[in-house]
């Protein structure tokens, strides 16, 4: 199979973010790399359905996301993954200061529902718009907005940052801004 060199460059350029997305979804570097490899193979096999000039990253993300979903459904029937197994084999761990926060965040992310996690990552980290994310996930923009919203609420609770007081405003600031004036 021959393929335009510029398309190959676009694919390679998308790999780092695609891989980060795969690790975020699967919580496992080895599985993530398998997902990326399978995604690239499928992309090559279906390169005719890619419109040059459109977003190569979004196209690859769509393929990977669908692969993960179908693979995950299959696996879940085989063995139910316990919370603690999420990201167990994640090797790309930073050292020192950020380490605890990284692990804490990763574990919290692993507790989100799949559809909420993918929406939150695509919008909040991978840099896709709500519209692009809706295309990648094959659903309506409103659905993505609601998933992201629910994901944020759940994460805030899991990370115990759903209370503004956690940010340590001084007493005056709290008195002025932090009062609980529910409508």
């Amino acid at each position: 199979m021959t393929i335009d060199a510029s398309l190959k460059d676009e694919m390679l350029a998308a790999v780092p973010s695609l891989r980060a997305f795969a690790i975020s979804l699967s919580g496992n570097v080895d599985r993530a790399d398998d997902l990326v490899q399978e995604t690239l193979l499928r992309a090559f096999a279906n390169i005719d359905s890619f419109t040059p000039g459109t977003n190569m990253g979004a196209w690859l993300f769509t393929i990977l996301r669908n692969l993960f979903r179908s693979e995950y459904r299959k696996r879940r029937r085989e063995v139910e993954d316990a919370d603690g197994h999420y990201a167990e084999t994640l090797t790309s761990q930073p050292e020192q200061s950020g380490h605890i926060e990284f692990r804490e965040f990763r574990d919290a992310l692993g507790k989100l529902a799949d559809d909420q996690r993918e929406a939150l990552i695509l919008v909040g980290a991978s840099g896709y718009s709500y519209e692009e994310t809706a295309q990648i996930c094959g659903c309506a923009v409103g659905t993505i907005k609601s998933r992201v919203n629910r994901a944020r609420h759940r994460l805030a609770k899991l990370l115990s940052i759903d209370n503004p007081a956690d940010f340590g405003p001084d007493a005056v600031t709290r008195a002025v801004y932090g009062r609980d004036d529910r409508a």
Binding site: P16, R19, A20, D33, V36, S92, L120, R152, V176, G178
Partner: protein, 60 residues
Amino acid sequence: MDVKVTEPGKPASAALTRQVQAKLGQQLRSYYEQLIEPPPDRFVDLLRQLEKPGSKDPSE
């Protein structure tokens, strides 16, 4: 460092405050950035291999 973004008189019960959203966003981006690495060699090799005319699927 504390930025006053909560508007006075605005109920904070239903929606997350901007502070919370900003904190979550920052943590999410930081998490994701730490996962970003240069493409592993296997993908560079894979793309190079696939480019050869008549090459076979290396996963098979």
